[in-house]
């Protein structure tokens, strides 16, 4: 069976980044699928879900301002149907973690995530949310939100420009479009199968000052 490829208006499938991870996910989810009717229903539901991603207004720092800019007139994420930002986590479909998460904020973020109703998605926006970013060596900063909640899409940047955020949202749409609502091989299942193990590439060299000395 041919792999179902999510379609996004105006950007061809091949031009998207990270198709490999997406295809791995599709294969994982669709191993034993044959039912055509259910498949069509799934498509309909995914079409609904992916075009109506209401985000929680959650911003801790700089990226939050760019998130507001995405919502404003020039970039206008209402075009995608994302403009209904909800202040209550119960009504939101997605949490855009825009900004640094500190030790004090971590339990709050976790609780917000738990309060959201399924299906829920997490987008890590900017260096701080992805890895701790500029403040990775700090005593009070969580190095990446994927340590406490599962992240669906990473949008790098410090802060990412509004178009980059829109691009990230389209990536998320693609991910939503390959999910299954019916059957046990759906997203929830796959998520527990593929835990996003947090990775740290390089720790901040504590003694870096000494290194520069000689150069």
């Amino acid at each position: 069976m041919e792999m179902k490829k999510p379609v996004i208006k105006s950007i061809p499938y091949e031009e998207f980044k990270d198709n490999e991870t997406l295809e791995a996910l599709i294969n994982e989810l669709n191993k034993e699928r044959t039912n055509v009717v259910v498949g069509k229903l799934d498509d309909l539901i995914n079409w609904g879900r992916s075009n109506s991603l209401w985000s929680l207004t959650f911003a801790t720092s700089c990226c939050g301002i760019e998130f507001m800019a995405v919502g404003a007139a020039r970039y206008d994420f209402a075009r995608f149907g994302f403009e209904v930002t909800r202040n209550s986590p119960r009504q939101a479909d997605l949490i855009m973690v825009a900004g640094t998460i500190t030790h004090k904020m971590a339990p709050v973020l976790k609780r917000l995530y738990d309060q959201m109703a399924e299906p829920k998605y997490v987008v890590a926006v900017g260096g701080c949310a992805i890895s701790g970013g500029p403040f990775k060596g700090s005593y009070h900063v969580l190095n990446g939100v994927d340590k406490i909640i599962p992240v669906d899409v990473y949008i790098p940047g410090c802060p990412p420009r509004p178009e980059a955020m829109l691009y990230g949202m389209m990536q998320l749409q693609r991910k939503v479009k390959v999910e299954n609502f019916f059957g046990d091989k759906n997203r929830k299942y796959s998520r527990s199968n593929m835990p996003s193990d947090p990775i740290i590439v390089t720790n901040v060299p504590v003694s870096q000052n000494e290194n520069t000395e000689e150069k």
Binding site: K9, T21, L25, G127, V151, Y154, C158, E163, I199
Partner: protein
């Protein structure tokens, strides 16, 4: 008593100020919209050359990068975004062994775009480009090997 302090005066002033507001928004209702339609305008969109979205290694005409693996960028990076792996290569003609770049690993996911690495680079071997479409599903995909 001044007119605009009386009951009727206050009501009229209020109505006037509200009508001014309504007039302004009505005008905007009919003006051209300022929205740029991002994915639709991908081909025509212009982004400042100075915009920093991602580090890359400019290549010379032979397709080689200019990096000499001195490690200044990695040492000057405030949060360890750059890791340089070197290897020793022996020059066949002179017989001297030389330290050359093996892998230039850049973590897009924690770069803070402070430009110090570009500033300190003695050979201008690295620079920022403005390709901002970098969102991925997997954290590991953000760790990029810059040299080919």
């Amino acid at each position: 008593m001044e007119f605009n302090k009386t009951y009727i005066g206050r009501v009229l002033c209020t109505i006037k100020s509200l009508l001014t507001g309504l007039k302004t928004t009505l005008k905007e209702f009919f003006t051209r919209k300022v929205t740029e339609q991002y994915p639709e305008n991908r081909k025509t969109q212009k982004i400042s050359d100075r915009h920093r979205a991602m580090l890359y290694m400019p290549l010379d005409e032979n397709g080689n990068n200019k990096c000499i693996a001195c490690g200044l960028c990695a040492n000057n990076c405030p949060n360890g975004t750059i890791t340089i792996k070197t290897k020793m290569v022996t020059d066949e003609e002179t017989g001297k062994s030389k330290k050359v770049l093996d892998e230039y690993i850049y973590d897009l996911g924690c770069c803070m775009y402070c430009q110090i690495c570009v500033n300190v680079c003695p050979k201008d071997a690295i620079a920022f480009n403005n390709h901002f479409e970098n969102a991925v599903f997997d954290r590991k995909k953000l760790i990029i090997k810059l040299n080919k």
